[in-house]
């Protein structure tokens, strides 16, 4: 879709700026990078607003439009973290993810957002927005986890180099990772519960083919995610799995989220478009 292609270009521009500022550590470029990302996020907000007006609900009922929403939420969440902590070194990793995901809607035919009575349910809105927000948090946690591991490896191997000079302290990465996982876990839990309530109301709504199956891979993988992040939070408290182990769990957890997001949504799901 045309608008999504433009958004992709904006994210690519911001991504290039973040890459340059990461490599060169130039203050002037880092300001440009933030400005470009803010512009992209504003444009994105505008596109989503237009689409909402057109279809009458927040467009997130198809896999593609869910990705558009997710990219938007992740960009906003990242900007929030950057502006509150002043830490830009994660930007290049987040932008890579944003660009990769935004490529999908940019090259798909159209959103074909269905107008349907069952999508007007408030439970649907809560379900989808909670999950998308949870996934955005997990994306941040995943990137924090990966950067933690990069930084950890250099310090542990006593080979202080590229990442050592650019990334923040291990402690900060660890704490931000756990905070992101906690927030994500809360929203994931809320999203799963509201999804269950919404699904239980479907048979009585009179819409045909609206039943949900627990055997759907989408739901199964979502529950798997919940298990991984629950374990991460538990292990961190109970057996001191902080630092590198928590970082790995965040990275793995986010890999599962991505799996659920792209291949499962497009190829495997039976009853659950998104």
């Amino acid at each position: 879709m045309f608008m999504n292609a433009i958004l992709l270009l904006l994210y690519i521009a911001a991504g290039v700026a973040y890459a340059v500022q990461f490599a060169r550590r130039s203050f002037a470029v880092s300001r440009t990078a933030t400005v470009l990302l803010v512009l992209a996020a504003i444009a994105h907000t505008f596109v989503i607003g237009m689409e909402t007006m057109r279809v009458g609900h927040v467009p997130s009922a198809t896999a593609t439009s869910a990705i558009v929403m997710f990219v938007w939420l992740l960009a906003l969440s990242y900007l929030y973290v950057e502006l509150t902590t002043g830490e830009r070194s994660m930007g290049v990793f987040i932008l890579l993810l944003l660009i990769a995901l935004q490529t999908i809607p940019a090259f798909s035919a159209g959103l074909n957002e269905p107008r349907s009575a069952i999508l007007e349910s408030p439970w649907f809105a809560v379900h989808v927005s909670s999950l998308l927000f949870a996934y955005a948090s997990f994306a941040l946690a995943g990137v924090l986890g990966i950067t933690y591991v990069l930084q950890f490896k250099e310090i542990k191997a006593k080979a202080l180099g590229f990442f050592y000079e650019r990334l923040p302290s291990l402690n900060m990465l660890d704490e931000m990772n756990l905070r992101a996982v906690k927030i994500g876990w809360l929203f994931l839990t809320a999203g799963l519960i509201s999804g269950g309530i919404w699904a239980s109301q479907l048979p009585s709504s009179g819409v045909p083919n609206a039943s949900m199956s627990m055997a759907d891979p989408k739901i199964f993988v979502a529950l798997l995610c919940w298990a991984v992040y629950s374990f991460e939070l538990y292990a961190q408290r109970a057996i001191g799995w902080r630092g590198r182990r928590a970082a790995w769990l965040s990275a793995v957890g986010f890999a599962i989220v991505l799996l659920n997001f792209v291949p499962v949504s497009y190829f495997f799901t039976t009853s659950h478009n998104f």
Partner: protein, 443 residues
């Protein structure tokens, strides 16, 4: 006015001579007062550190001022001129500007990129400016030097990376823990290196400093001298659980902290990260303890390697820093040249305005019949024509690339428009002044 620098540094003079020349012992303010007695210059600043003594002056006659400064240095410090002479360097104009900028950026320092020098230059300028020894030339020069130094620091890695073992340890601690506030540091052994590292850690605002040693008296003495708490040797295991950073510096001949002990400790600490700095030779901590999850073990060789790496990195950043210096010097020289053009521009304006006024006066009888608004209009139009005519020559003069061009342009304008020297103000600054038109009287 011209810029002159006379000085010695670690590059030209041995430490004995630099020590004798150091002004800080007897006071830079006294030296400045004594120096201005010579009357050979209008502005002066003395930069005096343990590695350099440099005098920056704004003067009219460079040769006279250079002689006066040499005489002053040898009289003030009681060093015969022939001993001093061979070690002195002197630079003028753009070369002097470049030198100061390189000094401020740390490019001329013994340890390249060391950060103290910028503060020292700032202090030196502060003293001179408080005594009223600086003027338009040095004010602008030093402020641009500070800006150049700042740019180098923020845009290159010249000042990055620790270049001493104890500071490298602090930097690593900050990469592991972030802010060191609220952290506990345990020092095992009361040696000099342990003390130095502990002091560095303390300056980072750590919460607690615990010191333990086989000889309790040593621990107590060190704790008293640097402000920490001593702990008996047999409480070591308990202290290990509390510490975030462990510094070992004992004289023991075999490791005193085994992998098993660190392993136990990590369990008791619930895997909170532990940074171990083993600066003892031979080592105090079993090297395999570094394999434990969340244990970061650095010995003195590891830290030395970090320092070496940083020093060579700084060297490779120098080229970028020099580029910034070149840009900033060009900017300053541009300002200086445009200042040199000011008298000509002012004279030209006066000339034009005088012609306009005299023409208006001559036409007064004819204009008298016009209504007041129309007369105001005539005044306005003639003024605008004059401004338009002046724009281009003004711009050209101000943006001339070098003092010689400024001089040639000024000379041409003076001849073409019959400008006399009397109309110029007294504030003339040029980098090299073959065409100085006005001299500022000595203050």
């Amino acid at each position: 006015m011209q810029l002159l620098l006379v000085g010695v540094s670690h590059r030209t003079a041995p430490i004995e001579l630099r020590e004798r020349l150091d002004f800080s012992a007897r006071g830079v303010d006294r030296a400045l007062t004594a120096l201005s007695g010579s009357g050979a210059h209008h502005e002066a600043t003395i930069v005096s550190t343990c590695n350099r003594v440099e005098l920056y002056v704004g003067c009219d006659d460079v040769d006279a001022a250079r002689l006066a400064i040499q005489r002053f240095l040898s009289e003030f410090h009681g060093i015969p001129g022939d001993q001093l002479g061979p070690h002195l360097y002197s630079k003028t104009g753009p070369e002097a500007v470049t030198h100061l900028y390189r000094v401020a950026a740390g490019l001329d320092s013994l340890v390249m990129g060391e950060p103290q020098i910028l503060g020292q230059v700032k202090d030196a300028f502060g003293v001179a400016s408080q005594l009223g020894c600086t003027g338009p030339l040095l004010n602008k020069l030093f402020h641009s030097a500070f800006a150049a130094g700042k740019r180098v620091r923020s845009e290159t890695g010249l000042a990055e990376g620790a270049v001493s073992v104890s500071y490298a340890a602090v930097e690593l601690a900050r990469k592991i823990f972030g802010n060191l506030a609220g952290r506990t540091v345990l020092v095992v052994g009361a040696g000099e290196m342990g003390k130095l590292t502990a002091i560095h850690m303390q300056s980072q605002g750590i919460d607690r400093l615990i010191i333990t040693s086989r000889t309790a008296a040593h621990a107590t003495a060190l704790a008293q001298s640097i402000g920490g708490s001593a702990m008996p040797w047999d409480a070591l295991n308990r202290a290990l659980v509390e510490a975030d950073i462990l510094i070992t510096a004992t004289g023991a001949s075999a490791p005193i902290i085994s992998r098993a002990l660190v392993g136990q400790t990590m369990k008791a600490r619930r895997q909170r990260p532990l940074f171990i700095i083993d600066i003892a030779v031979p080592r105090d901590v079993d090297a395999s303890a570094g394999d434990l999850e969340q244990v970061f073990l650095y010995n003195v060789d590891d830290l030395q390697a970090v320092v070496q790496e940083n020093i060579s990195k700084r060297g490779s950043e120098a080229a970028d820093a020099e580029k910034i210096i070149t840009q900033e010097v060009a900017r300053f020289i541009g300002w200086l040249n445009s200042r040199g053009a000011v008298p000509t521009i002012v004279a030209l304006r006066h000339r034009f305005e005088a012609i306009r006024q005299s023409e208006l006066r001559r036409l007064e009888p004819k204009l008298a019949s016009l209504p007041p608004e129309a007369r105001a209009r005539v005044d306005e139009i003639t003024r605008l024509i004059m401004e338009k005519l002046l724009i281009n020559p003004t711009e050209q003069l101000k943006s001339a690339p070098d003092p010689d061009t400024v001089a040639a342009y000024s000379d041409a304008l003076r001849r073409l428009f019959g400008l006399s020297g009397d109309e110029t103000p007294d504030e003339t600054l040029t980098t090299a002044g073959p065409t100085r038109t006005a001299k500022k009287p000595a203050p």
